[in-house]
Every structure is written in C-alpha cells, then in structure tokens.
C-alpha cells in the first residue's frame, strides 16, 4: 500500500514539476541579443519568444485619434532600447519546449515592462500580474491603448484597421521594393502586395534565412522572387514555412 502511494505521488507530481521548472536558464550579454520583433529575440543561436506577451507585428499600424503610427516597429525598437541599456546579463528561463522564455533584466520581467508601457498585450494564458499590468496600461492609455488597434493574434489572421493598408502602403516602409522585374515583367508573391509584410526571406548559401527590419543589412536586401525569396508578414509565418532567422538557418530542400 505504501509503495502504491509513493508511486502514485511520483506519477502525479513529476509532470507538474517538469512543467514548473524551466528546461534551462540562459544568460546573455545585451551585445549578443538581437531583437526580431516586440516579443521575439535571438540569442545564443536560438530564437526565443517572450512568454506571456504578444506584441504588435512588425508591419502593424495602430491608430491614435485618426493618426496612424507604426506600433509594431515601435515595440521592437523599444525592446531593443530596453535591452541595450542593461549592464548585467539578461537571464532567460527557457520553457521545456525550448521556444519560449521568461527573460529578466536586472531582476525586472521584460515582458511585464513591455506590457506596462503599452507596447504589448498579455496572452490569454499569461500569469495574473501580466494582466494587471495590461489593465494599468489600458487605464492610462499608454502606447497601443491610446487609440485603436487590432490584437496581434487577429492581425496575423489578416484582420486590419480601416485604412491601415492604405497607410502602410503609402508609408514607404524601409524604402526599397521587395520585388524585381524579371524578363520585363514585374513579378511578386501575392502576399507581398501587402506593404506591411516586412520580414524578408532570402536564400543565403543554400539556406532559407529571414531578416527583420532591425537586423543589420536588412535595407540592402533585394528579393529575387524567381529564386523563391519572398516576404512574410511576421516572424511566425516565416518560421512556420521553414525559414530560420539569420543566426539559426536551415538548408533549402
């Protein structure tokens, strides 16, 4: 009987212990961290999604009193700014699945900082204090809460604010065109018509690599659609399609 109780306890507690404890804890100097977008970083050759938060996508625009602004890019820039000022290493507790992480900067939860500034929303499964931070930001009309915006999850499903497409199409985001004229014809990926798709997927040394606007060399990249290069409307669709950030590439099939 005693053995059975011990075994049952072990069976029930082990999964709980496994999910509570992070798979590993990583430590990065801020010089070694690249910001992909407002909720994704790359460090140590790995791309990590900040757990519990969802920031506007890179090409996403928000509206404040009739004035559109590039809230997705702003979130990314603010994350980069926040990390750049850290003197102590950034500590990230990576989840068991290896893709999400709780990152701390000088003892402060980076995700909570971004939510508190109105530059990200809490995910449905986020801890309670994330949602409290979101409520305070909403009440103070900080950041994206100062006007109207599409929730990032809905934006990824192609939902847009009225007039948002026209704004981003006219805003000349990063200047250069994402397509080339081949054989006298202008060819482009149908999704690349959307000017808000800022992630560039290129073929480098046989590897499918994606660049975000904050990556060095992004502006100089010109896509050759005939080779299979294309735009993505965020880092998630790029990764789903099998592309990897420039620091962790994979080979083309």
């Amino acid at each position: 009987m005693r053995t059975l109780i011990v075994l049952l306890t072990f069976v029930f507690l082990l999964p709980a212990a496994a999910s509570a404890a992070p798979a590993e804890t990583l430590s990065f100097d801020h010089h070694r961290v690249a910001v992909i977008d407002g909720d994704s970083i790359q460090a140590g050759g790995r791309v990590l999604q900040l757990r519990g938060i969802d920031a506007p996508e890179l090409g996403q625009a928000c509206n404040n009193g009739g004035h559109y602004w590039l809230c997705g890019l702003s979130s990314a820039y603010e994350l980069r700014r926040l990390l750049g000022f850290q003197m102590a290493p950034i500590e990230c507790a990576v989840g068991p699945e290896g893709a999400t992480a709780l990152c701390m900067a000088n003892g402060d939860d980076i995700g909570v900082t971004l939510i508190s500034s109105g530059l990200a929303v809490a995910t449905p499964d986020a801890p309670a204090h994330y949602k409290v931070a979101e409520r305070h930001a909403r009440e103070a009309s900080l950041g994206i809460w100062g006007g109207t915006f599409v929730m990032p999850a809905d934006w990824r499903n192609d939902e847009r604010l009225p007039g948002e497409h026209e704004f981003t199409a006219s805003s000349h985001l990063h200047g250069n065109l994402p397509w080339k004229i081949e054989n006298g014809e202008l060819t482009f990926d149908p999704r690349s018509q959307h000017a808000a798709c800022l992630v560039k997927g290129v073929i480098e040394d046989g590897r499918r690599v994606y660049y975000g606007p904050l990556d060095a060399g992004y502006d100089a990249l010109h896509l050759e659609l005939g080779r299979g290069e294309r735009l993505f409307c965020g880092d998630d669709p790029a990764r789903t399609a099998g592309w990897r950030h420039k620091g962790e590439a994979t080979k083309v099939n």
């Binding site: 004035h67 820039y77 926040l82 000022f85």
Partner: protein
Amino acid sequence: MLDLRPIFLTIGMLLTILAVSMLIPAAVDFAVDNPDWQAFAEACGITLFSGIAMVLSCRTGSNDLSIRQAFGLTAFLWVFLTLFASLPFMFCELGLSFTDAYFEAMSGITTTGSTVLTGLDDLPPGLLLWRGILQWLGGLGIIVMALSILPMLRLGGMQMFRVEAFETEGKMLPRAAQLSAGIVLILFFFTGALILGLWLAGMTGLEAVVHALTTIATGGYSTSDGSVGHFDSALIEGIITVGMVVGGIPFLLFLKLVRGDGRSLLRDEQVHWYLGVMGSVMLAVTAWLWLHQGMTPGQAFRYASFNVASIMTGTGYASTDYGQWGSFPVGVMFFLMFVGGCYGSTACGIKVFRFQVLYASARSQIRHLVQPHGVFIPTFNRRPISDEVVTSVLSYFFIFGVVFALLSLGLNLLGLDIVTAMSGAGTAMANVGPGLGPIIGPAGNFQSLPDAAKWLLVFGMLVGRLEVFTIFVLFSRRFWRG
C-alpha cells in the same frame, strides 16, 4: 493695450533664421537621396514666408522693447518658433502627429531632450541633424536671452546678472544683437572642437556633428536609441562629459576670457559651486558604484561622472540605465536634476546661483540668530545680495514647487504611476530629458504617453525654460492693459 508689433517683428526675423537652418538637413537628405529633403524644403518655404510676412507687417520705428513687450517676446518666441520647427517632423516620411511633432520640437528648442521617436539608429540623416540644430539654436537663444533680456525682467533673482556695461533698461534688442555675435563665435569654437574630438574618437561624421551640437547645448538628443551608451566608449563619454561641463558654465565668462579677462572665470563663485557640487556628487556616486555595485573604481568613475554631469547640466544623455544602480543614486539623480547649471549657460534647471542666494541668506539669518545685534549681509560673487533678490528667489522656488506639484498631479490624474508622473514633471520643468521608471526612464521613451500627458509636459518644458514667471505674467490682466 500692449503693442505686439515689436514682438512679432523679432519673431519674424528669428523665423527667417530658422527657415534658413532647415536648408542644412534638406541638403544632407538630398545628397543621400532621401525623400525627406522635400519635407524640409516645404517647411522652409512656409517658415520663411511667415517670417518675412511678420517682419514686413510689423515694422515699427522703435528699436526698443518695453518690459511688458520683453515678457511677451520671451513667451511668444518659444511658442511660435516651436510651431514652425515642428513642421519637418510632420511633413517627413515618419509623419508624426501634431502632438508628437510639437513635443519633439519643444523638447529640442528648450534643450530638454525627451523624445517620442524610436528607431533613431535607422532614421534619415536630415531628421537627426534637425534635432541637433534645434537644440543648438535653443542653447544659443537661451544664452542671448539670459544676458540681454531676462535680467531686465527680474525673474527669480536674475536682476543680479545685469552686465555692468548695460545698466540702462532700454535697448534690449541692440544689446542682444551685440552679444549674439560673440556668443555664436564661442559656441562655434566649442562645437567645432567637439566635432573633431568625437570624430577622432570613432564616431561617424553625422554622429559627431549631432552629438557636438547637442552636447554644448546640454540638450541630449542622440543619433541612437541607446544614447551615448550605444558607442560603449570611455573616450567618447569623457569628451562628451567635458563638453557638458563646459556647456554649464556662463558663456559671458568665456567672452571675457577671449577679451583677456581670465580672472573672472577663475574667481566666479557660481562656477565654484557648480563644479564643487558636480564633483562631490560624482565622487559619492563613484563610491557607491564601487562599494555596492561591484564595479571597479575606474568603471564606477566612468559611469558616475558621465551620468551625473548629464543630469546636473540637464543634457539627459545616458550611458546606462542608472535606475538600476540602487536607491541612493536614483534619489541623487532625481534631486540633482533640479539643481541645474550656471546662469548664462546653455544648462537648465533651477540654476546654481539661486541655491547660492538661499544659502547665503540662510547663513546670514543663522548668524543673526546667534548675534542679534550683528550685521550680516549675504553676498554673491563678493557683492551684497539685496532683499529684493532674496524675495525674488524665494518666490521663484515657491512657484516652481507649485507648478511641479500641479504638473505631477495632472500626470497622475491621467493614469500615470507616481514615479512616472513626478519624474516626468521634474524632467520637463528642469529640461533634463529622461525621467525615472520603466516608461520614461533612461531605457524608456515618451512615445507611449497619452497625448494629454505630452501636452502637459510641453507646458512644463516651456515654463521651466522661461524661468516660470514669464508664462504666468501673461495670465495677468494688468499685463495686457498696461
């Protein structure tokens, strides 16, 4: 009724200078094929037209300003210059809203340095240069006003700084013009030296120019989101620290130095206090960082000296997030931002001389308590301080405190937490730049604040830069009636 013609005549003339200065970033953007050159060209055209129209329609025979006109000029000048300075921010591809554009322009012209812009590292060169030019012009403007106009207005003790050669109350504008030439040359000299030093230290040409402009103006606009910390160079930080300290010294003393009178600079009590307070705080923070934060003495002095000089002069650069240094440095930085630099410099804040006046007055009072029949006269720079000056300074502190409290409460009422609200009000009124906390601290930014909060901060920047009284005088009915 107040004759506004001389006011708008002066504003018109200065708008033409502002318009011409827009051609510099226009030329730079044109050279690199950035479409923002059109935005600067359009803004230049509108500003030039408005300036010339004001000059032509407001010409009067008189070259003088009355005291009331001087008050009006001081207030309206900064409001109107900022309005036109905000045009490039609205017209450029970034397309800032009117609120954000006016905030950025006001922060530039008042040499505050708070910014609503993100992604500075990726911005076109014209915009970065325009921000630097605005702060440089703002720094020049405040020096000229401090020497020629403000002493006549008797704002918070400033009557002490009437230049001996200009004892008469009239002829403010000719005096301003006379002083401007010398001050501009000195500013050019220091700016040029900084450009050369920073370029040799490893900055690109644009970075060196922008940082030189904003360092000597003690403004703090950078070309990077990471401020000066982005460069991670002790040499660059050292050069900029020297530049900031120089920016906080009265420029009239440099003018006298050029004319052969070096003793004035060496014997000036305000400069002694300025350097003394700054040096003491630098040492205290260095000791803290060494003993409590585990830095080496060299590292501790590097970070302490740079950031203390930045906050005290109101420059607002950051080489790191000093909010992470612990409670003592954060408290020190908060109070230091109110102290400011010397009167007659580009620096901001309450100004060192006012603390000297209060100290001298309090010391005299204490001595009088001990020796009731003794005669103890407070002095500043070896000259007696009159009761009128002491009253003026005390009034200034009172009004400053009331405005600070109301501004803090206003920001708090808008939903901002008390740290953000108080540090935001303080940094705006002291024209420093960064506040405290995760939202507007050194690692933060003012973009995410609601528009109403930004307008409150704009008001705070203006009130702080114009020595508080100037704005409130305009709300007096007697002022308009005469």
